[in-house]
Symmetry: C2
Subunit: 428 residues, 2 copies
């Protein structure tokens, strides 16, 4: 395929992707779901699970094989920009304010699903329909444990802010525990990925390289960026220095973390968290968010959906496993967080809200699943089962939350928080 032919099929696929995400996204919002739910489902519908079944030629023409590497890279660019925005919104201070309860809830929200996930992996590990051959029990358990522990923190944060709950005890607890869980799950994933590298030297390289990057980002880069930020604010050099500089660092961070083997999304998130706050962060967010969320990120959902084949879940035993995974995920994460919140002194209503939000997997789950599939840890069948789990847990989060809290805004509305309001950015 010549470059020109490639760009023709790319623009056609892009138009179809944006249309599908928009249509299903509207339907999702119509029934009170966040946009991210619509885009997750749109990705599956446009892939082999639906479009490929009813119109295989159209599906093959829309997404020819030669297009896949391009789709992958552009989706990675969208993902890296998005994780950078998530990092930019990440509030380390939150962890300190309700530290003790947050620790209880977040440990419960990690250890229980991790244990249940690992147990499932241990039980089904021998089945080559689920795990690729050559994957050890330990690796399978680690991966499934990490994949079960994911929280869609950006989605949780957005709902808390939108409902005006961020100043309340429950809101602070949910934000603190959610962000701690998010950070922890990514660290586990880093260990998992490093262990999959096979050779010990590669694992050391990944873990050492990742830790070195984190330390460098917070103890060298952050102070330097703070000084650069003061310089930029003084000269109002937002457009000429701050944005191009941030994008350059972002590309370098994505390259480095990708290269050492802990994936570009880490580098993007850590760099975002290390950026100076205030006017600079607010402006970059405004400049980066629209095209990222509306143009580039939908490609990632669709890339995931193209790898999802619900049809592979084709036996009673596999559907039984899917149900088991879903139950373990919901009880292990949502149930455990509810219980931990009750133990920490939250009333039942607040505890239910926390459990519902912590249970949503969202985009974050798709990221870890795609990495597992790309690395050859899990098979397309297990990938599809996990995608079903991700969609269902994300789909149920808001209705259960509304059951507890109703649909009205409780405290100050999100609009009262102009500087750091996550807006449509935090749609996951």
């Amino acid at each position: 395929m010549s470059n020109h032919e490639l760009s023709i099929v790319f623009f056609l696929a892009l138009a179809a992707i944006l249309l599908a995400c928009r249509l299903v996204g509207y339907l999702a919002r119509f029934v009170g779901q966040p946009q991210v739910v619509g885009e997750m489902i749109a990705g599956v519908l446009i892939g082999p699970s639906l479009l490929g079944l009813i119109a295989p030629e159209a599906q093959a023409a829309l997404f020819p094989k030669a297009l896949m590497p391009v789709l992958y890279v552009v989706a990675q660019v969208g993902l890296v920009l998005y994780m950078f925005l998530v990092g930019l919104d990440f509030d380390v201070e939150l962890l300190r304010t309700r530290a003790r309860s947050a620790v209880t809830v977040s440990w419960a929200g990690i250890l229980t699903p991790f244990a249940l996930g690992a147990a499932i992996a241990w039980a089904v590990h021998g089945d080559t329909a689920l795990f690729a051959e050559g994957v050890s029990i330990g690796e399978a358990a680690l991966f499934m444990g990490a994949a079960m522990s994911i929280t869609a923190f950006p989605m949780l944060a957005r709902i808390i802010y939108e409902r005006g709950l961020s100043g309340t005890s429950m809101g602070t607890l949910a934000l603190a525990a959610g962000s701690a869980d998010d950070a922890a799950a990514w660290c586990i994933l880093a260990v998992v990925l490093a262990s999959f590298s096979g050779q010990a030297s590669i694992a050391v390289w990944a873990i050492g390289g990742g830790v070195a990057f984190g330390l460098f980002a917070f103890f060298v880069l952050r102070p330097l960026l703070a000084r650069a930020g003061a310089w930029i604010e003084k000269r109002e050099a937002y457009d000429s220095v701050a944005l191009p500089g941030a994008l350059m660092l972002l590309a370098a961070a994505a390259w480095y973390t990708d290269m050492v083997g802990i994936y570009a999304v880490f580098g993007a998130f850590v760099l975002g968290a290390a950026m100076p706050r205030g006017e600079i962060a607010r402006r970059i967010e405004k400049q980066v968010q629209p095209l990222t969320v509306n143009l580039l990120l939908p490609l990632f959902f669709v890339y995931s959906g193209l790898n999802t084949r619900i049809g592979l879940v084709n036996s009673l035993a596999l559907w039984g496993l899917a149900l088991l995974v879903l139950l373990a995920a919901t009880l292990g994460k949502g149930g455990a967080c509810y219980a931990a919140a009750r133990v920490s002194g939250e009333p039942p209503r607040e505890a239910l809200g926390i459990g519902a939000l912590m249970n949503a997997r969202g985009l974050m789950e798709l990221i870890i699943l795609n990495i597992g599939l790309e690395r050859g840890v899990i098979t397309p069948t297990l990938f599809s089962i996990m995608v079903i789990m991700a969609i269902v847990t994300t789909l149920t989060a808001l209705p259960v939350f509304n059951l507890a809290f109703g649909r009205q805004v409780v405290g100050e509305a999100a609009l009262a928080r102009p500087a750091a309001a996550p807006g449509p950015l935090l749609d996951d």
Copy 2:
């Protein structure tokens, strides 16, 4: 190369590209040149012309062959978004206000360079070092004519606005003639491309498809979009409807015009020109411009630069040809526009300013040259000669303009024109 390996080299190349564009861009601004000049030069420096000469291994590692299709497609996305922004800023009304003088200047600025370009093509057509075998004299003349007639309209507009000249007689004339030239050159290019399709049916398809698209855009789409725009403004549905809708239409327009053979940049420009004006256009511009200009568009400059091999211009005869092309381009465009402006009654100083600005080729020239190279009309040698011409004419525009007008702001500053101020967008 696996997808993951591909994304690693992509992020590394991206970091290098952004760094080079920023560094050379700063140098350019330091000597009073626009950013676009810096990025054009950065693209050449990072390519085989400089980096490839002094460190061929580094250059090959930075831009491996497998990366080229990805780089091409992402650069096309940036280009399509940019041309959409240019269309969004295009002001049809301008053409009416100073119609007669504008017609004189713009015809002079097209016919003369077209004739000189065609004459050069006619003289050197037999040389297979310049034109690919199988390219007829007529095609070679058409392409060279169109390539000589290009004006970097966005750059011209930006300088006029920045200096507060947009309300003056000279400013209006320059803007009107420049936009007319730009539109005309693109029409010629469409004819040229259509004629290269070889078979008459393909040419008919391209011209017919292009005309049909233009008519559809202005007589069907524009009224529909105006009504949609009123609906959106009433509901303030800018983020939820206007931007995602525009991006979807943009992908579809890019695909259609790419598919019929007149390239995605046309569809993007025409769609931008057909969009509703006012608040909607202003917001979309603000949302699309930052990532387009700072992240995606630099890839296009570098893709151009990777195809430029100044080393191919390796004989006295070829350097003589480069000088001839440069002279013909400058006399044919800048000189003819100066003369036409004088004939239309402009004083010498104003006429010199118009000639200087009309002579800049900028990004627009790189677009047409890349299409010619991609289609196999011109060889890498002629491509490199034409890139030299594009850089030199762009480089000399501002100094000559400053010679006539000084460096100060004459009328109202650009800041006094907040709604439609082109800002850093119109950097070409």
